[in-house]
């Protein structure tokens, strides 16, 4: 592993000559970029390749000679893909909105009301954030079953908050902490109630935090796999990642074209939202690992 020895020298990089910078920075960066993005290119190009081009070893595989929409058509009209998309949107939006609302209240209570036991509650939220879904899904499946929620969208809407609420609360606690206490004290003196303080002072100031938490929570629920795989079995109720993985693979014949089209269009919505909120997303991600 060759480690880049010319580390960040912030103000000192002007000392470096252009060719050296090319070799030390742009070349490895280009290699990283190529490896990280190639699977997406491959996904996109496969989605529009006709089968005879996909299953031949001749010619240039990096380009499409006669692009086709067959795979997309198959996806839209011969499978439940549109329904999976709709389920995913529905489940992601509802669970995100619900989790965000619950998290705002919880984070405000822990960080600002400082009720007795608030510290312990904050720690409990952090520990809940560390519980991995792949340890929880078996007993959770049995809870879902007991509640009669098996094979419903509601099962997902209610279980996704188990990882969304701890995450959002943790993130929002950090944002609330950065809002000066004095603002609230002024409002208290002016006779504002706690509810007014929350909605009129704290929340407007925490909008960037709310966006970060919201975007991140939406992506997490869009990408969720193991709960959706376990708690839902009817084809028309599946979410997109599960539908593509379980329903588009038929026997031994892999329809790579429609599989890749399914993967591509399932990734685009999150990539699209992400492109508008990159900064919020990055601050959400870095905030999630901070204390």
């Amino acid at each position: 592993m060759s480690r880049d020895t010319t580390t960040d020298t912030a103000g000192m990089t002007f000392l470096e000559s252009t060719p050296k910078k090319l070799v030390n920075a742009y070349l490895p960066l280009g290699a990283f970029l190529f490896v990280l993005l190639f699977p997406f290119y491959w996904m996109a190009i496969t989605a529009f390749k006709p089968n005879n081009e996909l299953l031949s070893r001749d010619g240039n595989p990096f380009w499409v000679n006669s692009p086709t929409l067959d795979h997309v058509k198959k996806l839209l009209f011969d499978t439940a893909y549109p329904e999976w998309m709709w389920n995913t949107v529905l489940v992601s939006v509802t669970s995100t909105v619900f989790s965000l609302a619950a998290s705002v209240l919880a984070a405000y209570a822990i960080e600002r009301l400082r009720f007795s036991g608030a510290k312990q509650m904050g720690l409990a939220i952090f520990l809940a954030y560390l519980v991995p879904p792949s340890i929880l899904f078996i007993p959770l499946a049995s809870v879902v079953f007991q509640l009669g929620l098996f094979d419903t969208r509601l099962a997902l809407i209610l279980t996704y908050p188990t990882f969304l609420i701890p995450f959002c609360t943790w993130l929002l606690m950090g944002y609330f902490r950065s809002i000066p206490f004095e603002l609230e004290e002024c409002a208290l003196i002016d006779g504002a109630t706690r509810w007014q303080i929350l909605t009129k002072i704290v929340l407007p100031l925490a909008v960037p935090g709310l966006i970060s938490a919201g975007i991140f929570a939406f992506t997490l629920s869009w990408n969720e796999f193991i709960y959706a795989l376990t708690f839902v079995s009817s084809s028309e109720l599946k979410t997109l990642p599960v539908g593509v993985v379980t329903e588009l693979v038929e026997g031994d014949v892999y329809h790579w074209g429609s599989l890749m089209a399914g993967a591509l269009f399932g990734s685009l919505p999150v990539a699209f939202i992400y492109s508008f909120f990159v900064e919020y997303y990055v601050s959400g991600m870095t905030g999630s690992v901070k204390e």
């Binding site: 480690r3 880049d4 020895t5 580390t7 960040d8 912030a10 000192m12 960066l29 990283f32 970029l33 990280l36 997406f40 491959w42 996904m43 595989p61 619950a102 209240l105 919880a106 405000y108 209570a109 009301l113 009720f115 509650m121 560390l130 792949s134 340890i135 929880l136 899904f137 078996i138 007993p139 959770l140 499946a141 049995s142 809870v143 209610l158 908050p161 188990t162 609420i165 609360t169 706690r194 869009w222 990408n223 796999f225 193991i226 376990t230 990642p241 593509v244 892999y254 790579w256 599989l259 993967a263 399932g266 990734s267 999150v270 992400y274 990159v278 997303y281 990055v282 991600m285 690992v289």
Partner: protein
Amino acid sequence: MFDRFQNSRNALGLIFMLPAALLLLLFLTYPLGLGVWLGFTDAKVGRAGEWIGLDNYLYIATDSVTQLALFNTIFYTTIASVLKFFLGLWLALLLNRNLRFKSFFRAVILLPYIVPTALSAIAFWWLFDAQFSIISWVLVKMGIIDTYIDFLGSPWNARFSVIAANVWRGVPFVAITLLAGLQTISPSYYEASAIDGATPWQQFRYVTLPLLTPIIAVVMTFSVLFTFTDFQLIYVITRGGPLNATHLMATLSFQRAISGGALGEGAAISIAMVPFLLAAIMFSYFGLQRRVWQQGGGDK
């Protein structure tokens, strides 16, 4: 007056905590307890189990597939985490320089992390196809190999293939969070050390690394946690095959509990992950954190 204020604060705090607390108690705390209980029963899907003591644990301790899954999980976590750390740190250092289009680079690099893992795993499955893999195609055309590589057909190939996919997905997370840490380091340290004649390597070793250690510890702890409990990548790319060579504890517990219907046994495998998981977390957190005082950064 003060009392009333205190009281209402507690009452209000309770009300505000209620939605989050109720949901987490019902769907997180209770299932955790239930999971421990299920591990001691012979529960099957659709049938409540009876207490059978440590039978499940005794069985999985001697079960060769579970032992293999444990080995796979440890191997997968170790190799993938080490690779993610070095590549992620390298990428973070590259991105921390004054480059053109820096924010563009930073934005696109996160793409592997934000798209659904299950879907990018399908793309890797296609990239690893035994007959039409583009990787094999390129290597054959370049004259490096003669026959197509059977990426997922033999145990060790498959292990390294899924590790590659995991590293691909995890590097952006490590890089971007370490980059955030790098950006908090004041440039004056670098200027001062440069005046004292420090080489770039010395600057990295004695300025960057010590100041970055706390965030490295946190980031790698999270990375280890997510890698150890990984499910999606394996489930999509190999389903644990060939010959259980890529089964992780999580995928094995799914196979036993959901596909096979043995809830109790699956739960026992899940619970058996916990001590190893805790050990891995302790190791990465304290192991990395300790460096702080070793390098004179004050005891934490």
